[in-house]
Symmetry: C2
Subunit: 652 residues, 2 copies
C-alpha cells in the first residue's frame, strides 16, 4: 500500500504525515474547527488495490479437512445477528440470529423465539408494536459480543451482546449456539458498549446506555435537556434481568471491567450533554466513568436511590457527588476502553485526540477514599502515548504489547505499555514498535484470547469500516474488510483480507479447547421448548415419541407431528378457513447435522428443527384450498418428496 | 478422505462400492424397496476429518489487495437472499436481500422495498397477510439464481431467482445489486427450477411449478387429486410479469433452455401424481418435459387455452396430446437438467437411477412432427452412462467433459460426453475419467461460465449439503460446505472448503469482465424511488438538493432530510403521538462506499441509504417522548455523533 500523498484528494496529504506524534497532534489541532465540514471524513478515492501487501506469513490457510484453531465470535452491527468465524481461516461457520428476523431458521416467527423476544418487552414497546401491526422488533444493531468469564478466563458458557437500535441485550447459549434470552432494558436508551464481569465469574454484564433522555420519557420534559440522563445498567447474567442501574453524566460509549471484580469503566463522549454536533465536540476534555461495584451493591442493598420499572436506580451523576462513580478527565471524545491482561492497565482510545490514555486500575481505590473534589482524578494516568490520528481500540498480546487501531490514519500501531509508562515518566524512549497500513479506517481490533488472562500472540483481527476498491465491485453497497494479521514476529503482517456484510463492529477469538460444551444434537429436555412441552402434555401428546395428532381448541388447531428423514409423521391434516393453526414438530433424527425444516407453502412461515429438537410456528389459514408443506432443510436423497398437504376447508 | 468401508456405520459398506457402474446399479436396485426406511439417508458418522485432502493446486489463495477473477452468484435456499462470492477466494462479498427481511438494509420495511414486494401480490396473499397482521411474506426459499443472456452468453444485466416457499420469482439489477422486481406467480404452486432463455436473448425466464393443486384452488375439489395440475410459467424478463403458462403432468423439478431459443425442458419427479412418498416413487420411469416455445407462442397469440388471473394457460398435459409438450421417459425421479455449451447435449441426472441420460436437442424437432403417440420419445437419447449412486447435477468445462455430482456416493465424477455417446452406441470405451470424494452429499455443482458458450476449465464449485465434522463444531446446526475444485488438469483437486449458511442450493460463476454495468453510486434519477420522488414533488421538496422539511397531511407526517457525513440535515423534528411518520432521506454523499443509515431508536425501523440514493421508511409513533435517531452505517470519525431527536408530543 502506497503512503505517497496524492494531489488534491489524498487523505494523507490533507491530514499530514503521522509517523511523528507531534506532527500528528499538530495536524489534529489545526483540523478541529473543520470537523463538521468533512475534513476527517472519508476523503477521496485511494488507489491502493494495485499494490498488494505481500503475505509473507505462513500458516494462515486452513487446508480442506483441517480445522481452525480458534472460534471467532463476531458482531454484525445493523444486521442484528451473531456470526461465528473460524480463525485463522476467516471463514463464516455459522450465523446466529438474535435481533433480526431469520428466514432460514424461523427466528422471530417460531413460538419459541417469540417467547424469548417478548419475555421482558416494556409496555411502551408493546404499545408501539400493536400500533405498527408487529409482534416484535425485527431489526437490531448488534455492536459487541463477549463471552462469559470464570477467573478472568473464557468459560465457554454464554455469549452476550447488545442492540443499540432498540435498547436490548441478548444472551446466546454456547452449547447450542442459539439465543436463549433477550432483555429490553427499561429506563435506559440505546445500549451500546457491553462487557461481562471477568472475576471471579460473570455475575454482571455491564451495559452502556448511549443516548440521553428524561428518565420518565413521557414527553412532559422532553424540551428541557437538563432533565436528560444517561443510564449504566448491570444485568444479572443468570436471570438476564437488570440487577441495578446508575444515572451518569455524558453519553456512554464503550466499557470494560477489571480482573479483580471491583470496577467497571465506560468511556463517555458527550460530557457536554450537547444536542448538536458542535455542542457534542465543544469541550476539550470528556471522561471515563469508573463504577465502584461494592459501593453500588451496598447502596442497592440498602434501598438507596429510586425504583423505576422494577429496577433500582442510583444517582451517580457528576454533580451528585456519590461514591458510586468517579469521572476521570480524558481528552476529547474518548472511545475505546480495553483492559490489559496484565490485570493492571486500562487503555482509553482518544478518538479525537491522537493519544491513548493508560490508567492503572490499582490506583482507583484511592479515588474513592475522599470526595471526588478532593482527589486528583487524573492520578491513575500512568502513560499517554501519542500514537497517530483517530486512535479507537486497543488489543493485547500477553507479551506487554498493545495494538491500537488508528481510524483516520488507517493504520494499526504496535506499542509497548511499559515503554509508554517510562516515556510518560520522562524517560527518552519511543513506545511505538511498528505501524502497518490497513484497508481501511479500522474500528475494533482483537488478538486471540486477548481480553482474558490467556492472551495469545499469534493472530490479530482488524475490522476495517470500509473496503472501497479492495474487492470486486458489488455495487454502491460494499462489504467491510476484516483483516487478519500475523503478530508473532516483531513486525505485523497482513495475511488475509476478509470481506464481511454490514457491519462487524467487534469480535472476540476463543481457543477451540475452551468450547467444551458444544453439542451436536439437542437434549430432549431442553428448556427452549418448555412451554411447548407443557401445551403438548395438556393435549395428551408425548413430545418425545413418534406423534401425529391434531387437536382442535375452538378456532385454534394444534398439529403435532414428527420428522424423520425423509418423512413427516403426518402426510396431511385438515383445518378450517380462518383457523389459527400451530404446527409443532419434533425431529426424532439424532444424526449429526440432520436438521429438518418445515415450510408451509404460500403462508410465509418456515422453521428449522434441529436434531432432537422441537419447534413450533403459528399462522392463520385465511384461504380455503390445499397447500403443500415441505422440509426445506436438505435431509435425504428423497428430501424433495418429504412433503404433505394441509387441507383448508371453506367456511360453511 | 478414506474410502475404506467401516464396520457397522459406513455409508459405503452399506451401499456397496460404486467404482463399477454395474455394481452400483445392483446396489441401487436392491435398495429400492427400503428407500423410506432410511437406507439412502445420511448414514452414520464418518471419520474423515483427520485425513485431509492435500491441496496441491496453486493459485486459489487471493492475496490481500488482489482481486478475484470471477463473481459467484449464490442462492441461499431458505435464507431467502442472493449472495455474491468471489472466485476463487470463496469469500462472501455481499448479501442481497430478496425474499427475506434484512435488518441492515431495511429490505422488507422501507417503502421502496414494500412496493416491490406488493406489486403483484395476489388477492389470496393479501387476505392471508391481513389475517396474520403482516405487510409481506418475510421468508423465502431461494434455490436458483441465473443471469440474463444475450447470444448464449452472460450479458451482465440481471439476475433471476425463485422462491419455492411462497411461489415467487425475483429479479436483481446487476448495476446496483438490488432486487427491483418480485412477481408472485398466479395459478402455480411452489416455483422451484428457474432458467433464463439463452438465445437470442433472455425474453423469457422459465419457472417450474413443483407442487400440484387444483387450478382454482378454493377448496372445492381439493380432495379429488384428479383435479390437481402442475404449472410451467414463462415470465416476461422485461416486465417481470407472466407471459404464459402451460399445464403439465408431474411435479416439475429443474429446468434449462437450449442455445437456439427453441426449447425449454424440465425434469419431473412425480409423474405418478402420487400424494405419498411410496406413490411418488412407484413408477420405474418418470420423464423430462420438452416445451415447444414456437408452438406455445402461436397458441397464445391465437387465444387458445384459458385465461385465469390475467395469464393465458395452455393444456400441455400428457393426455391432452398437444404439440406444446413432449414427455421423454427417463428412469425414476430425474433431477438435474443441464444443457451443455456444445449447443447439443442436454444432461439429465437420474437421482434414483445411477445414470445420466444425454439427450441430443437437435433431435427434438422430430418429436413434434407427429403426434406424441407416433414418435419414439426416447429417440433423442444418445448416451446414458452409469456414473454412480444419486447423480444429481452436471457441469461442463467447454472441453467436452461433464462433471456430475453423486449425492449418495458423495463424489463428483468427471466423464467425457463423446465417449459416453460412443459407449452407448456399443463401443468399448469407459467415459469416466476421474472420481473424487467430496465432503459431502453434493447437490448442484458449477464450472466457471459453464452454463454459457464461454465455458471455462479452471474452477468447479461443488455445493455439499452437509459438512458434519468438516469444520469446528458450531452446535446442532452446521453450515453447508461449498468445495472449490481445480479442474484444469486431468485429475480434479479439492483446493478449498467453504462453509456456507443455509442453504446454498445453486450458484453461477461469471467472469469479472462481464460485469461492466456495476455502479458505485446511484443515479439520482433511479426508478427505485420514483414513487417517493412523486410524493416529494407534490410536497414541494426537491429530492436532489439539501432538504429539511416536515410536511403534515392529517395524521400523516412526512419528514424530508438529507445526509452528508457526519450530519443529517435535521437535528430534530416534532410529531404527535399516534402520527404515521414517514422519514425520507437522500444521501448527498457520492464518495465510493459512503453509505449512510437511518435508525429510529426503540421503533424497530432502520434503513440503508447508499451514496446518492433516496430511501424512506414509515412507522406509527405510538408513545410520547424524545427518541434519538442515528446513522448506523459507519461513515466518519464523528459517526457516533451523527444523530438527532424526534419529539413525540403527547396527545392533547
Amino acid at each position: 500500500m502506497s503512503d505517497d500523498p496524492k494531489p488534491g484528494l489524498s487523505r494523507r496529504a490533507l491530514l499530514g504525515a503521522t509517523a511523528g506524534g507531534a506532527a500528528a497532534a499538530g495536524a489534529f489541532g489545526g483540523g478541529r474547527l473543520a470537523l463538521t465540514g468533512g475534513l476527517f471524513g472519508l476523503g477521496g478515492s485511494l488507489a491502493t488495490t494495485g499494490a498488494a501487501q505481500a503475505a509473507t506469513a505462513e500458516g494462515f490457510e486452513v487446508a480442506p479437512g483441517q480445522l481452525d484453531t480458534h472460534y471467532g465470535f463476531w458482531s454484525s452491527g445493523q444486521t442484528g445477528e451473531m456470526r461465528i468465524l473460524g480463525i485463522p481461516s476467516m471463514r463464516e461457520l455459522m450465523r446466529v440470529p438474535v435481533f433480526n428476523r431469520c428466514s432460514a431458521t424461523g427466528w422471530g416467527e417460531t413460538n419459541e423465539s417469540l417467547r424469548i423476544h417478548q419475555r421482558t418487552m416494556t409496555e411502551k414497546t408493546k404499545k408501539h408494536l400493536a400500533a405498527n401491526g408487529k409482534k416484535i422488533h425485527d431489526n437490531g444493531d448488534l455492536h459487541h459480543v463477549h463471552m462469559s468469564f470464570t477467573d478472568g478466563k473464557y468459560d465457554g458458557q454464554y455469549l452476550f451482546m447488545n442492540d443499540k437500535a432498540n435498547t436490548r441485550v441478548a444472551r446466546v447459549r454456547a452449547d447450542v449456539m442459539k439465543c436463549d434470552a433477550i432483555l429490553e432494558i427499561p429506563n435506559a436508551k440505546a445500549i451500546h458498549g457491553l462487557r461481562p464481569q471477568k472475576f471471579p465469574k460473570t455475575t454482571y454484564v455491564f451495559c452502556n446506555g448511549e443516548d440521553e433522555a428524561p428518565l420518565v420519557n413521557d414527553g412532559s420534559t422532553m424540551n428541557d435537556v437538563s432533565t436528560y440522563v444517561n443510564i449504566f445498567t448491570a444485568v444479572d447474567a443468570d436471570k438476564w434481568l437488570p440487577a441495578w442501574q446508575v444515572m451518569v453524566s455524558g453519553n456512554l460509549d464503550n466499557c470494560d471491567a477489571d480482573y479483580e471484580g471491583k470496577w467497571a469503566f465506560s468511556t463517555s463522549y458527550n460530557s457536554e450533554m450537547g444536542m448538536t454536533l458542535a455542542d457534542m465536540t465543544a469541550a476539550e476534555m470528556d471522561h471515563v466513568v469508573v463504577f465502584n461495584i461494592a459501593a453500588i451493591e451496598a447502596a442497592v442493598a440498602a434501598g438507596e436511590g429510586q425504583e423505576l420499572n422494577g429496577v433500582r436506580i442510583l444517582d451517580g451523576r457528576k454533580d451528585a457527588n456519590s461514591n458510586f462513580t468517579r469521572y476521570i478527565p480524558i481528552a476529547n471524545n474518548p472511545h475505546g476502553c480495553n483492559m490489559a491482561p496484565d490485570k493492571k492497565h486500562l487503555c482509553i482510545g482518544g478518538k479525537l485526540s491522537p493519544t491513548v490514555t493508560v490508567l492503572d486500575v490499582t490506583k482507583f481505590d484511592a479515588l474513592f477514599e475522599k470526595p471526588a473534589a478532593e482527589v486528583d482524578l487524573r492520578s491513575p494516568v500512568v502513560a499517554e502515548p501519542e500514537l497517530g490520528l483517530g486512535p479507537l481500540h486497543t488489543a493485547f498480546d500477553g507479551r506487554g504489547n498493545a495494538y491500537t487501531s488508528l481510524f483516520l490514519d488507517s493504520q494499526v500501531v504496535k506499542w509497548n505499555i511499559e515503554d509508554a509508562i517510562k516515556a510518560y515518566a520522562g524517560e527518552k524512549i519511543d513506545p511505538i514498535k511498528d505501524k502497518l497500513d490497513v484497508q481501511y479506517q479500522p474500528g475494533h481490533l482483537k488478538t486471540v484470547m486477548g481480553e482474558t488472562l490467556e492472551a495469545e500472540s499469534k493472530w490479530l483481527v482488524c475490522l476495517c469500516k470500509f473496503s472501497k476498491d479492495r474487492f470486486l465491485n458489488v455495487g454502491p453497497l460494499k462489504p467491510e474488510n476484516d483483516q487478519l494479521f500475523d503478530i508473532s514476529g516483531d513486525k505485523m503482517v497482513v495475511v488475509h483480507d476478509g470481506p464481511n456484510f454490514a457491519e462487524p463492529h467487534d469480535a472476540i477469538a476463543v481457543a477451540a479447547a475452551k468450547m467444551t460444551n458444544i453439542r451436536s444434537a439437542w437434549d430432549r429436555q431442553d428448556p427452549m421448548w418448555a412451554e411447548t412441552r407443557k401445551q403438548a402434555e395438556a393435549d395428551g401428546v408425548n413430545l418425545d415419541e413418534w406423534a401425529d395428532k391434531v387437536v382442535r381448541d375452538g378456532n385454534k388447531v394444534r398439529v403435532y407431528m414428527t420428522s424423520q428423514a425423509p418423512s413427516f409423521s403426518l402426510e396431511s391434516f385438515t383445518v378450517k378457513e380462518g383457523d389459527e393453526v400451530t404446527v409443532i414438530i419434533t425431529n426424532l433424527d439424532d444424526i449429526d447435522d440432520l436438521t429438518h425444516g418445515f415450510t408451509m407453502g404460500n403462508h410465509g412461515v418456515a422453521m428449522e428443527i434441529g436434531p432432537q429438537a422441537t419447534s413450533s410456528i403459528t399462522f392463520v389459514a385465511a384461504n380455503a384450498g390445499v397447500y403443500w408443506y415441505y422440509c426445506q432443510w436438505f435431509c435425504h436423497a428423497l428430501h424433495m418428496e418429504m412433503r404433505g398437504r394441509m387441507f383448508v376447508e371453506p367456511k360453511a
